[in-house]
Subunit: 336 residues, 4 copies
């Protein structure tokens, strides 16, 4: 059994990680941590776990970690995470980090979008971007996996076949995405107060969303050239899921049939990516680690729809998938 | 034109009052007040009023009120309201007060449920309970109307024909109610954070909800005897509406047909109470000042369903109805 | 009083038209029609109107119309409408038609997208496109107004300032829109069955939606040149509203400030179009006839967000606005 | 591995059964059947299973069943099921039947509520009521388990400790329940059309719901005396879950503390029943096989809240739990 510590277990991705590890036949929870004011029996912090898990969520004590756990799922916020990851690694744990702190290879871009100096560039250099469909081989030997953001996961899975094939102009990609509200985290705010958010839909992070440089960096790696993405997120009145509607300019004429064939071939061996023959439903991927994609040609453009659950394939499920790869387990374990 | 001031305009009932007065052909908004930190152009405080109302929401200046307005819709919270109402009355305004401060005739019960001493018992004695279907005559001459709570409105309209007829045992009434989340007000909290409240339903205020004594007092007045009500509220994942499902023990056998006839006769002249021939839908009364009621006999019990919009008939709409009565206008003005 | 007949009153736009006319101080309902199987007292066909309207919804009897009504709001479906509109006009009524039958000036395009021959090209030639913000002068004298589609209303209000100024490339406009489910009409189907649609979001009508040629025709008129629009609708889990997120390629550099100034000037006199300084909320325009727009510059592109209520500004509200114009009434009557 | 056939796999409880068996480490799907018009690859019938299950849903061929499967989860509708269950048993399978056909021991009551003659009274006599918390021993050896209805599961788990202790009057129990819409099944109808059901709440089945006699029969067995239950279901705007709010008249005074102690003791060994110290949330039990209960004393009454997921503990999860018991597996397998 792989012994799992969840650092920052009191948020939504923490809860989702607990849920998934509870269902995992080869991994077990051994340690759950949070800020002191958010600690307590896990069944009280999250009513959904009443009777399902008897652990306490405790304040983090790094000294206890060595020898206790094999891997840390680190669900700490951006900027906070890089203060703890080095110590988790020093304690001998493998780390799957959910924050953005190890995703942007260029510390300058990190500093621009996150407004702080990067304090752990050594591990940043070693971290692997945890999108298994694209970087499985590097993940296998990794000590530190930077778990991708939810929007980048959805967008990059939708764009990769086109970028790899060099099929599209890389300076004019538009990613219009709508996320469920769990993506906003568990802290109450006026915007996400039920009577404000219910029956609502709005754009946010216009021109400034932090997932934009992450998408562009990985898209650039895949394409082998600079990629410009206009990424526009929206929030919609549902709990789980992201639908990215992606608009691209093809370099040459390509039919819907060719696109379908390309995508099916590209993802033929991937357990968690399914190519649809019509527009995907967010609800079909909710509560699963699957990504449903449909690519087609419309009026000379390529339009791609890519749907995931932001908390599963966009966060905790992908982390478990990465953990499975790192430890040489069957990749789908606990995620079927 | 009746000149309307809304005191405490920055909350949900304030907004709903603004919306209704904007549609009113014989009333106009002249003054909107709120706490300093919640002030600003009304179209910025509430995006829904952009271009529809050019007033500012301002900190309350009592000196300005005299001569400026004819009536105050006072949307201040419980306990706060009784500090302002006397001054609004002194300034020569009629007042429709939304708080509980003038609803409970027995200051001792007020003090028990609200935990503070009542500081305006003089006006408490003069206040009229603003349920027009039961107290229209008293409202006509009133200077101070205590606008009923949302749950009591729904429950009392459902119960009144039975109580007036002496048809039911008064020691064993059960009111099981579900409210939409706008009833919880605009302040964000974990409980009503969208990802927690969406797809959820729960009971609250078990045995302690403050609307219980209010129901019992008015029910007692109607019945002419002491009435005991077990009132149990729940919150459900929708914006607007209350459905009260009411269970009573009849004193003598009564058929569904008799109940239907009783209710239709009781409310025959009431514009805003409609007797249904099947279970009412919360959605049919949402955004309206109507109450839909269905009463029937089930296994020897009487079961009554009563649906209103908590923000309209349960608050701002009823206040406008009361205002219309106080000023001798057609009662349905602005509420059709 | 303008006497209003609603032809096809049993659907959602029929109900919304009834609701709005009930609130209108200078118009009254005189005749409501539907297919025989959907007839009955209006308060029974739509529970929301119980006690608010005592008319019957009846099968259409054209002979009764002459002299009975001044205007018909014709809410019949596409293809059906053109069989009735000529007779309504012959009966001496002004007509605001909700269907697509009189929107597409080129009958060939109509026939391509709707799959039937146009049977009333004479009136098609006379019909005016009922988007008051752009065609107010023509509407004034019109006998037949083709009320615009919901998506075109939202998109065209968002695009017009750019098109009129010649600011953008007209061959690469992308309109990504999300509509609430009332847009799908009242007929039950698997797709919109609550447990399928709730917590869901999906694209539909990919490359084939019938509102695309309508947008392109009017956009072309405004721009004075051929316009190509890639329009992609989605359905989201809410009742009312459309958010169009529009992506354009500017011909020359333009700042967010310049865009803001352009939009504010363009719509300065328009009561129902409000320019926002941040992304609009669908919820702010729900249940209103308002359109909220925000235009900004992002990474060299122009991005415009335009929000309306699909049933009000996208259908019945706009029809009332058109009716007000046709009859020389104040344009905002009944819509405040 | 236990080989599982799902008969009637194309509905919501069929889909939920597929989902749960896919996660089960000791059971596997071998045969999925439905009406011919609902057949096809499971990943096409239910988009959620794309890539997760490669079986076909096929028309039932009873001849193929013998030797192919060990157990049938029979998800056929009421009245249909009793035509197939005898043949499934004859084919040597254990059967967990989801319909009401084997729940009501008294065929006369069945015939009254379901309007047809019972055609398989032989097996009816042998069937065991599959509520493991009350009938675990009988389930162990059973060949045919009648899986309880969703409302009875919720109500009976909430009532059993009181009935077993003889604590309450058995002629005046009120069960007020609200269910999510998945309980209404997958067939579209006007009532559950998204724009009608969203933001709505209503009572139904007033005095006539078929789960009422089922509750009364089992409650009577537990109490050892005749039990009268006034059961009133409602539908609310969410997918999954039932909250039963239960009102009882105690025979003698009992405190909230005593109730809490009684419930904790009664369910101490039960993995799937959790006693809460406050009102349970439907959302905490959604997607799980758990039942959360809170019992308290209010104004001399006992009030019990009991929450389950109607598709899991109220249907497919409980069926898997029963299957585990029948086959001597750990009861929680596949349900953690």
């Amino acid at each position: 059994m792989i012994r799992v510590a969840i650092i920052g277990a009191s948020g939504y991705t923490g809860a989702e990680s607990i849920r998934l590890i509870l269902q995992h036949s080869r991994a077990e929870l051994v340690y759950l941590t949070a800020l002191p004011e958010e600690c307590g029996p896990v069944g009280e912090v999250f009513g959904q776990f009443k009777g399902r898990c008897n652990l306490q969520i405790e304040p983090l004590d790094l000294d206890r970690l060595t020898g206790l756990a094999d891997v840390a799922l680190c669900c700490l916020p951006h900027k906070v995470s890089m203060g703890f990851v080095p110590r988790l690694l020093d304690a001998g744990l493998k780390v799957v980090d959910f924050s953005a702190d190890y995703r942007l290879k260029d510390a300058k871009i990190y500093e621009k979008f996150y407004g702080v100096k990067h304090t752990d560039t050594a591990n940043l250099a070693r971290a692997v971007f945890g999108l298994p469909e694209l970087f499985r081989e590097q993940i296998k030997g990794a000590k530190l996996v930077a778990n991708p953001g939810c929007f980048p996961t959805s967008a990059l899975l939708g764009l990769s076949p086109l970028l790899k094939e060099g099929l599209i102009e890389t300076d004019s990609i538009i990613v219009n995405a709508v996320t469920g509200v769990s993506g906003a985290g568990k802290n109450p705010s006026g915007r996400f107060h039920f009577p404000n958010m219910n029956e609502n839909l709005f754009a946010y992070g216009i021109g400034t969303h932090r997932h934009m440089p992450e998408m562009e960096q990985i898209a650039g790696e895949i394409a082998g050239t600079d990629v410009q993405i206009l990424f526009q997120p929206h929030a919609g009145p549902f709990d789980r899921g992201i639908l990215s509607s992606i608009y691209c300019q093809p370099k040459r004429k390509v039919s819907s049939e060719q696109l379908s064939a390309l995508y099916r071939k590209f993802y033929a061996e991937e357990p968690f990516v399914q190519i649809c023959s019509d527009a995907p439903n967010v609800k079909d991927v909710a509560w699963t680690n699957y990504c449903h994609i449909f690519a087609t040609s419309v009026k000379g453009r390529i339009v791609v729809f890519s749907a995931i659950d932001n908390l599963v394939k966009g966060a905790s499920g992908q982390a478990v998938q990465n953990m499975n790869i790192v430890f040489g387990l069957e990749e789908t374990l606990g995620l079927k």
